[in-house]
């Protein structure tokens, strides 16, 4: 294969990270401590991340869960997972009917390009998730300041 074609192919793969990381359910070992093997369904949760991080030290995320947030039907907690960070369970957020709205914003550290997963536990005991890919590149220059 000519070098030019190889580089073009590699560039193409990088250009569509979403395509490269096909949507799959969160691996059981990642969420087992939370779900204890219960099914985790795609839906209700929306995880928003930039496609390309400005810097892996601080990436803005927003997790929204579609829920009426009433006493009878609400989000109990939202759990954030990384498939590549040294600590996979990045954060847990505990809500309840007093929240009024199930939406969390924060800024996270991501150790390289990966898929981030958010799992919501509802008051009826069910689990729902969303996952989003992100490209994280290293800084162009070494900084030893």
């Amino acid at each position: 294969m000519k070098r030019r074609d190889f580089l073009a192919g590699a560039a193409g793969a990088l250009a569509f990270p979403g395509a490269a990381l096909a949507q799959v359910d969160p691996p059981d070992q990642l969420v087992r401590a939370l779900t204890n093997g219960a099914p985790v369904r795609k839906g209700k949760v929306t995880l928003v991340l930039p496609q390309l991080a400005d810097n892996g030290n601080s990436v803005p995320i927003r997790i929204t869960v579609d829920s009426p947030m009433t006493a009878a039907d609400h989000v109990k907690s939202i759990h954030l997972y990384s498939e590549r960070n040294p600590v996979p369970n990045m954060a847990n957020f505990y809500l309840g009917p007093r929240a009024g709205k199930a939406e969390i914003d924060s800024r996270v550290r991501l150790a390289g390009s990966q898929r981030v997963t958010a799992v919501a536990k509802l008051s009826d005991g069910s689990f729902w998730y969303d996952a989003a890919p992100i490209v994280v590149t290293l800084s162009a220059c070494l900084d030893e300041s």
């Binding site: 930039p50 810097n55 162009a140 220059c141 300041s145």
Partner: protein
Amino acid sequence: MRRLALAAVALAAGVAFAQERAIAPGELKSGSAFRGSGLRALQNDDFANPGMLWVERGEKLWREPAGKKSLACASCHKDANMRGVAASYPKIEKAGGKLVNLEGRINLCRAGRMGAEPLRYESDELLALTAYVARQSLGAPIATRIDGAARAHFEVGRASYHLRRGQMNLSCAHCHDAQWGKRLLSETISQGHPNAYPAYRMEWQTMGSLERRLRACLSGIRAEMLPYGSQEYLDLELYLAWRAQGLPIETPGVRR
């Protein structure tokens, strides 16, 4: 030895360069123009901009008495509006005739008038005070002077900016005059202006001064980082301010 070399280059180049600017005033772009929309939005968010933690601290320190005389900045400055002050630095200090940046001016006040210990570069306190004072100039255009005693410093600063250095043998001009707007790996090279400093840099995960940023660049091209407060940095800061004349102050900037 190094300063003699720079001064010699400055002298020789002074006549040739005149007041030529590599980037015309109409073409000046702040560093925020080269960052992603996410970082710009964070910088413009007065609450979530992490640099504002230091600005708030600076506001408290401004009113806190310090040193033997138990004076606070506010004791002398009272309700004086500090707007425009940061935009005029670096400048020649009337009393001593030396070129001084904002950090230096704060320490001159502390040591000279308050009987207090000068603050170290990159200490939380100095960053907070510098950020607070610079924030008062938010939106004010950079307006430093290079006449009189400042002229010699300006020439050395300009020579320094154009000097090749480090293992990569690059000068500031190679990237920031000749290649701004182009990519360096996945990053876009900025014009290298000082108008947003002190700034919160994601790479540092904290607030940092302009001198820290200069040191970061030096390490990036594998050149020797000079100690904080070096005369060469001060002269370079003056040149950078001249180069950015008219750009509004954005402190605290949020940078990659």
